[in-house]
Symmetry: C2
Subunit: 341 residues, 2 copies
């Protein structure tokens, strides 16, 4: 059932800033033997996530850094083709850290989610029903504690996480303002993801004025995926008791050296505001709760999502640069030959 | 009982950065009539607080800004000499926003604390038993949720707030590291306020190395009274789940224009840390709880404090600059002629 060799993307060199195609190598490698306690997964879709830049950086981050020559760490969805671990069986559908490769031999703790046998498609479990949706779910409900009537700004508002944050916030009774780059994403915010207002930061000469126009009473919650100048502007408009979730830093090209920006201290002090960094993986014990809720919302049509699918593992090496250029519209995925949909 | 005139310090012009003596005017003014519902307080001690700089700034802050010609807003302790408000009586001892003046005609809501008739001295109610102690109490117990075993760094560690934070943290079972400017304050941290370690940031060539030496396992809690380079260094050493209280920004000369510093976003994200601004006044409903606890600790000798007393209202105009120069050792107060101790 397993093939002796398969295609895998390894790290060829450490990226200086945004990882580019030439930082990776695609090669045919021999699959290791399946040891006792391991599972063998055939990947259907590979994920492309902003966090991958951090995993590759030289700096000490929130996950063990990846070494040169390693298969690129990545989330993927696939099917168990053989198991020597008691909790898994052939045919099980799983999402986890299976890497940018066609097949994976992994320990069971690489699996982050089991996917119901009756789920119509696997790919949403890398996005709206995977870590993007889970991040949005806990970011809004737990980190930002969105309340009915809150004015909520979301950066990268049409992105895989942002679009979920906007829609979940609406369900919780918040007023949503999306910040996105470009007219098309601005349109998506309104037409597809139900934001009450959307700002195209690229075409606004004065982002502060645009925020003031959309949030005349100030900002209660800021779900920050960008850092940088967008965040500086939003911070100038927070209200007393504001909650700011730090989820990503897409606007920062490199953290080496550490970039300068306006110190937030006085805003936080005057407004008695809270700024909190979080990772979905801190909520691992509650994934099932989130996925169940998000699935129900997808099924009833109240949680919409977009996918931007690149075909073939050959597309993987250049995909992070594609993501950071903001060229994707929706969750960026790589579809492999094993995928049936 | 009241005199028709008294001495008051008014704001002569808006300070550019740290308020200086020449930004104020001392003059003899006529006391207004006591209207129905008001109280007449004779001040014994006037307070000098870092927050006064913010009150005077042109920028929109957390309190109504003070206008040119107004009596300088200030906390003071004193005695009610006449009352036309039902809840107050002649002889009542009170702490509140009575201004930099010898006497005050105020509404009852200017009173922030009533002082027990058996309290031996009034001045502690401007410091360790006043907003400094209350700030430290809620900052450690509520904002930072200090737990047994936490490693806690305090900036301006020998100051009026910082010295309380260090001592309260010890009582809660934390390990305390003080950062202060100068050898004498470093000594006070250890000898008087019981810190486990103290760093004199002025004599350290490499503050990061000093922090790493004092906190080999990283920092769980940072009680930040400074902002600036000290905070940048501490942030580089926080642990997962760290809590950072933003209480003051003593290291920042001016917030106009907004100063630049290292963006904290990625530290907060990687470490899933929380940075929260707070003001003691948000806890007004719980002052009595805090003062009762703090009083018991002062009485049993486990909460020590220092006062730095300047004599006469003539000392008030230059006192904020004195404070920001770090020349005081302990809570800075102005003693007026009415004071009996």
């Amino acid at each position: 059932m397993s093939r002796p060799t398969h295609l895998a993307v390894t790290v060829a060199r450490r990226p200086v800033a945004i990882p580019q195609a030439h930082d990776f190598a695609l090669s045919t490698v021999t699959l290791p033997d399946l040891a006792e306690g391991q599972i063998h997964v055939r990947n259907h879709y590979l994920s492309v996530d902003p966090a991958m830049r951090g995993w590759l950086s030289d700096a000490k981050g929130y996950a063990d850094r990846i070494e040169i020559g390693d298969v690129m760490r990545a989330f993927a969805v696939g099917v168990v083709v053989r198991s020597r671990a008691p909790a898994f069986h052939e045919g099980d559908r799983v999402m986890g850290l299976f890497g940018w490769q066609e097949q994976a031999i992994v320990a069971p703790d690489a699996v982050m989610l089991r996917i119901n046998a009756d789920a119509p498609r696997l790919s949403p479990y890398l996005g709206v029903l995977g870590l993007n949706g889970i991040t949005a779910y806990f970011g809004t409900t737990d980190v930002c504690r969105v309340q009915r009537g809150d004015t909520v700004i979301v950066s990268t508002a049409a992105g895989a996480v942002g679009s979920c944050v906007g829609q979940i916030t609406k369900r919780l009774g918040g007023r949503t303002i999306g910040i996105a780059g470009g007219r098309e994403k601005q349109r998506q915010c309104i037409d597809e993801f139900g934001y009450d207002a959307a700002i195209d930061y690229r075409s606004e000469a004065d982002l502060d004025a645009a925020i003031a126009r959309c949030c005349p009473n100030g900002v209660d919650v800021y779900f920050d995926n960008t850092s940088g100048g967008i965040s500086d502007s939003v911070l100038r408009h927070i209200r007393i008791g504001a909650r700011i979730a730090i989820c990503g830093t897409a606007a920062i090209e490199s953290w080496n050296p550490w970039p300068l920006g306006e110190r937030p201290n006085r805003h936080l002090l005057i407004k008695r505001a809270t700024m909190r960094g979080f990772l979905a993986t801190d909520y691992r014990d509650r994934y099932a709760e989130a996925v169940e809720t998000l699935s129900a919302w997808v099924d009833d049509g109240s949680l919409r999502y977009r996918e931007d699918v690149l075909d073939g593992i050959e597309a993987a090496p250049g995909s992070i640069a594609h993501l950071y250029a903001g060229k994707n519209t929706g969750k960026l995925l790589i579809r492999l030959s094993a995928a049936e949909d």
